[in-house]
Amino acid sequence: MKTGIFICHCGHNIKHTVDVKELSEYFKEIPNVYVATDYAFVCSEPGQEIIKESIEKFELDRVIIASCTPSLHGELFKDLLKKSGLNPFLLRRVSIREHCSWTGDDLKKNTEKAKKLILAGLFSVVHNLPFEEKVVEVDKSALVIGGGISGLSAACFLSKMGIRVYLIEKEKELGGHVKRLNNVWPYEKTGKEIVESLVSELVKADNVQIYTGARLELLEGYFGNYNVKITADGEREMNFKVGGVIVATGFEPFDPYLKPELGYGRDRRIVTTLEIEEKLNEVVLPEKPRVAILHCVGSRDETLGKSYCSRICCINALKVARMIKEGYENAYIECFYMDVRAHPKGGEEFYEETQVKGVFFTRGNVAEVVPLSRCVLIRGEDTLLGEVFEKEFDLVVLSIGMSSQSENKRLSQLLKVSLDKDGFFMEAHIKLRPFDTAVKGIFIAGCCSGPKDVEESINHGKASALKLFGMLNKGYAYVEPFVADVTEKRCSGCRMCESVCVANAIKYDARKRVVKVEEAQCMGCGLCNATCPSSAVTLLGYSDMILMDEISGLLARL
């Protein structure tokens, strides 16, 4: 076995706190290491050239690159090995930047640690095998769960790009919450108009199937080949196959009954922002109405276990204030807020304008809303003045926040996608991969991953659709070769692995009394490997022996 070790300085990043010269000198002496060298930037063109030349000159069959974390430049180095005529799975990356040089300043200790890390890599790289990535065909179709604004946007985009779309919506009609909005600030359009333009596009398209009153019953398979079972219109059962999934289940408005001290439901003069928006015309108010708007109802409230900000309710409250002001010029409007978070573009200006137009803002906690015959009484504390107040109003508007869909829990189990602590779907990475989930081919769009305004929801839907389109359009997908593998003669058939498998990839053969693995379904997580008492299930590329050898490298006396 001929191994080459390439140690990167990463400019000063690694070199500064790790003695790279000592490392290359040390590894040169080890048998089977044909070349050990260090270079300023291994990822640069000349750096890559050094590796390529060494592979050709020494006919290397294992390569170790000690540099940054393996997730960085992963594809680049894989391609480099391919170009040099070597199977990319014969490469071993060792992170001596994140795991070593960045963790401390002690040159001697860091160098020692780097040595052990590379040695561990050397011990395990001998086990690397020239795997081939498997190619599977991808069905160019998508399931969109939820017919709200982001689901509609995603479905429209995908349909335009020629992807077959199955859109399922649990309600009788499409449009979600946006359809109920009278005024989608700042577009000066009604929500109905926005929704209807999208829906009419979808209805016209010949590659879109819309199911209303529908519910997802089953999702099985893997990226490119998901089998879906739904029930539509309450009972009709449908089965179809899709390549990918976009989850756009949206949100549920906060249930104001959960805050009984605010008196919702006890009096017609206490309403939510959603209701007033729909029915402002129906509310009977005196000529000079006194209106209170309470911010943060069901948001940023630890007592309800909702510590998050719902993002839309401040601007919503301001919008309602302006609507009332337009209808009743002499209205006295007072907003009770924690702090005003006017998120979207132009929001801050809208807030200032609202103040100029004569809406009052009091920073305070409202403790109680008491409906009386002549007025609605509000008791609370002004947190700027530190005083307790009691004020009379004719109308109280609760600016309610967003809660996660109660259906999310069931869906998360069907889709095998995690939820966060508030019941919203979890992104693969909140900043770097906000549209992806941890499951390949399942994307999230809109408020199902957390509160968003209309504009963000539309963008989120389109972005998820674009990402899914990019994956589907290729027509094929690579499957990682690192899947579970069963050695039948060691398998006792106890089915422990089957019960821990999150991907449903393990099936029990009742005749042979052993298990087998559906390779395409396997995510390579290794749970079965850890569970199997006789190591009959092995994760290819990560067998017990490889890990044990790697550990003995780490523990070796230098």
Partner: protein, 336 residues
């Protein structure tokens, strides 16, 4: 719950009827003069011994990998053996349709290594004899599950020393229906079996090292363990227990020059593997030629780890082994 009050003769008559079937088998204990043995009965059964005071091995190991559905195998076991059977059905290591396994109240046992103990025949005398015996096995001294409440049916003794048969699952009917006595409500009190030694299992790393230094890696404890069910153990192979060239290679390759290799690792791995399913029968300790107090470790660790999940091995056919399930709200104090 209902049961039938019976005499030993009623039971034997029912068993004889049961064995008329060509494909029926009875596995139970027999008393042959002084010796107690486990044996199988075909066609007829002259007598059986319900209360066997001598422990050889956990009888459930003989049920492992019975996969045929054609037989009817009736077993009358001790509680710890019936529990092991229940665990094995969960792990699909025995075809539960062909095996009907019940448990009898147990008074504790002594090791089969001891000779020259004369046990009284009468159950009353046997109970007090065992309760006062200094030879009671450690596993039995610390056993809190001596009542016949496990498996498909139970044979129990009430406070007036009457024998009762109580069905726990539908399968028990193959025996229960053959018993001619009338069904009635259960008596208010059954015989109490107290654990004698309620101490908490405790050890230290020093003690662990001292105890397991004696291990010769004969793997007897693995082979005799009823819930160590793998058809091929990792310690059969050179990866974990290197022999010959593999041994020399592994010594040269690592810092560890111990021979035989991986002694502690073997016991740690086994402790983890049986940590939920261990029935605490102490069979491993009986099988150890070196006299290592294995019950203390295996039973001690499994009681703590299964206690975390409120799991009792062999309590219920439907109860899932905790390691195979995941609930978000489990182990709230996991950081302790």
């Amino acid at each position: 719950m209902k049961g039938k009050r019976i005499t030993k003769k009623d039971l034997l008559d029912a068993l004889k009827k049961f064995l008329k079937d060509e494909l029926a088998l009875l596995i139970a204990f027999e008393r042959d003069n002084k010796a107690f043995k486990i044996r199988a009965y075909k066609k007829d059964v002259p007598d059986i011994c319900l209360f066997n005071p001598v422990y050889e091995a956990n009888t459930a190991i003989y049920l492992r990998r019975i996969f045929s559905e054609d037989f009817k195998i009736l077993c009358i076991f001790r509680p710890c053996e019936a529990r092991a059977y229940v665990e094995l059905t969960k792990l699909t290591q025995v075809e539960s349709r062909s095996v009907i396994c019940g448990s009898v109240d147990c008074f504790g046992t002594v090791s089969s290594k001891l000779d020259n103990i004369v046990f009284p025949e009468n159950p009353q005398d046997l109970k007090s004899f065992l309760e006062n015996s200094k030879n009671l096995r450690y596993a039995c001294m610390t056993c809190r599950l001596k009542n016949g409440v496990f498996g498909d049916f139970g044979l129990r003794i009430d406070s007036d020393w009457n024998l009762w048969v109580i069905p726990y699952t539908g399968k028990a009917n193959v025996l229960y229906e053959l018993i001619s006595s009338a069904e009635s409500d259960l008596p208010r009190e059954f015989l109490e079996n107290q654990e004698r030694n309620g101490q908490v299992f405790q050890s230290s790393l020093d003690e662990f090292k001292r105890d397991f230094d004696k291990c010769i890696m004969c793997l007897n404890c693995r082979d005799i363990c009823p819930v160590c069910y793998c058809v091929d153990c990792v310690f059969n192979n050179d990866e974990y227990l290197p022999k010959g060239d593999a041994l020399i290679n592994s010594i040269l390759r690592s810092n560890d020059a111990q021979i035989p290799k991986n002694k502690e690792m073997y016991h740690f791995i086994r402790m983890y593997h049986v940590s939920q399913t261990c029935v605490g029968c102490g069979g491993c300790e009986e099988a150890c030629p070196q006299g290592i107090p294995l019950t203390k470790y295996y039973k001690g660790i499994s009681e703590r780890l299964s206690g975390l999940f409120d799991y009792v091995s062999g309590r219920d056919f439907e109860e899932k082994i905790p390691y195979t399930t995941f609930r978000e709200d489990e182990l709230p104090n996991a950081d302790d």
